[in-house]
Assembly symmetry: C2
Homo-oligomer: 327 residues x 2
């Protein structure tokens, strides 16, 4: 099997572009100086970029190439989902170690392109560079959203209910299980191939059920704090309502950890946290029924002031500061 | 002076966003899950991404932080220019070594934001990650172009003249001078802070003077080959017409190198190579006069067939394969 350094940049690019196909709104795809897209009429453009860095965001010893590719796109689609946007296109910037094998590149593309196809995202351009160090996959995702459908972090009002999609805790439990076999086996798949809540975000934006929304890539504590800060409100979470899977809860207890505090601190869940006032109950019902079996759980309430706290076992505690890179 | 690891991700992001301001078409800027932009009415979106990697694209021992930031944006604006696009916005993805000092980040932003301001580009979002290895700066640039104003590499026809903006050779000569003091001092500034030909690209697209265009980031040989390939034509360059600065020419001769072959092989010039048929002489005159003192030099002609060659000293030679990463 050839390494990227033996193949060379052009052969690598051809290997990738040969797999792509494009809808008519891609006026110029890969292979020119830049991509050219026809915008969606009447929509705003939504743009986000997020890099996955080897040994920081993933460990190649237990994250297979297709999961690296899947995750690199998923984290970006999750950001678009949190804005209520429909994803359209992506750019892929690869920074590759010389010794990486072409097989591994193909595997990354398998994962990335499968997720892209599932969400009708076109890979319209990118760039390949050498890395004297770690593998870096930097994806830019481009979406569209109607002018009055944008979800931001800033619209929550006191009295709104706080909801979360899916479940909380599989990201951390899956990672630990892969790292040291002490987590929850079932959760490994969710860590490796998180499902961005694209449809939920779009529905909540379109039927205007949500007043504010954020994704939970850096954990529940971080998401709750960011939403509260942007909206200039407080939030009181009901720790007992958090949708923590039963096996994850038991694992934390067996390790002597409080499952609620662990769920707040964990990350890599890629669920959406959003707020909705009681008077939007009809819109919420309609969003729920469109989303089928994706759980949507009420986990708290927006309050006046700025306190971000969680109640559990009759006690109210401050939500810890979220995860930060570099600290 | 604090390092990035001491400052932490949030403080770093605040340090950057505090310096930004936004035009009204930036609906949501940095600080939410994604940026939201109002598209330019009647225009197509143009998107490109390019990473600058430490020890591959630049050497921190002689490239100061502001030049790193300038170059990271310049290479992307050069790609937009080659499409005839007007740059509007950029996303910045930083992958930072723990020990990097906040001063150096500020310096990079100085360079990037000064160039952004000169071209009215808004930094609308981004991402900061840790690097266990080199510094990586990945920029995505977003531009707009009228539907019938797009320049691609694919429109050259036999008989078209081949032109280049500016001069060729300062990128390589400046790099060598910085590396080992054997290049051309004057050229160092052009290597460190290349001026992307944004205005030239826009003018050539708007008045439809050019039939095809490519930027020369990977060197003249690469650019000529790519344009010929995309247009399914050959190109015959006139080696004696290449706009090589006199001091660069003398330096190559003193080193025993053929200045023409050196100019073809070099890189980092960020000029535009484009084609224009003789019947567009009026449009070319008008573009030239709008561009003031930017030289535009005829350096060859588009031919039938597929040969890409250069004539000099009465001899015709094949243009060498352009630079490739990984080889």
């Amino acid at each position: 099997m050839k390494t990227v350094s033996e193949l060379g940049e052009r052969a690598l690019i051809e290997r990738i572009t040969a797999r792509l196909s494009f809808p008519p709104w891609v006026i110029v795809g890969p292979g020119d100086d830049a991509a050219v897209l026809a915008p969606e009429r009447g929509s705003l453009e939504v743009l986000t970029t997020d890099a996955q860095v080897e040994a920081v965001h993933f460990d190649r010893r237990f994250v297979p190439p297709d999961a690296i590719g899947h995750r690199a796109l998923a984290v970006n689609l999750s950001d678009l989902a949190a804005m209520g946007a429909r994803p359209r296109a992506a750019l892929l910037s690869l920074v590759l170690p010389d010794a990486m094998e072409a097989d591994a590149i193909d595997g990354m593309l398998d994962g990335l392109l499968a997720l892209a196809a599932a969400h009708r995202v076109s890979l319209v351009g990118g760039n390949i560079s050498r890395s004297p160090g770690p593998l870096v996959i930097d994806v830019t995702a481009i979406g569209a959203v109607g002018p009055r459908r944008v979800l931001t972090r800033a619209g929550a009002r006191p009295g709104d209910d706080v909801y979360v999609t899916g479940t909380i805790g599989d990201g951390l439990a899956g990672l630990k299980s892969l790292q040291s076999k002490v987590g929850v086996r079932r959760a490994e798949a969710r860590y490796l191939r998180p499902e961005p809540r694209v449809r939920a975000g779009m529905l909540l934006g379109r039927n205007r059920a949500a007043t504010a929304c954020v994704d939970l890539s850096d954990g529940l504590a971080d998401g709750v704090r960011r939403l509260a800060e942007a909206s200039h409100v407080g939030i009181l979470l009901d720790g007992e309502a958090l949708p923590i899977p039963e096996d994850v809860r038991e694992w934390h207890l067996a390790q002597g950890r409080d499952p609620v505090m662990a769920a707040l601190a964990g990350g890599d869940d890629y669920e959406l946290l959003f707020t909705s006032p009681k008077r939007f109950a009809g819109r919420m019902r309609s969003a729920r029924s469109s989303l089928g079996d994706l759980p949507i759980t009420r986990i708290g309430v927006v309050t006046k002031g700025h306190r971000v706290s969680v109640s559990a076992g009759g006690r109210e505690r401050d939500v810890p500061e979220g995860f930060q890179h570099f600290t």
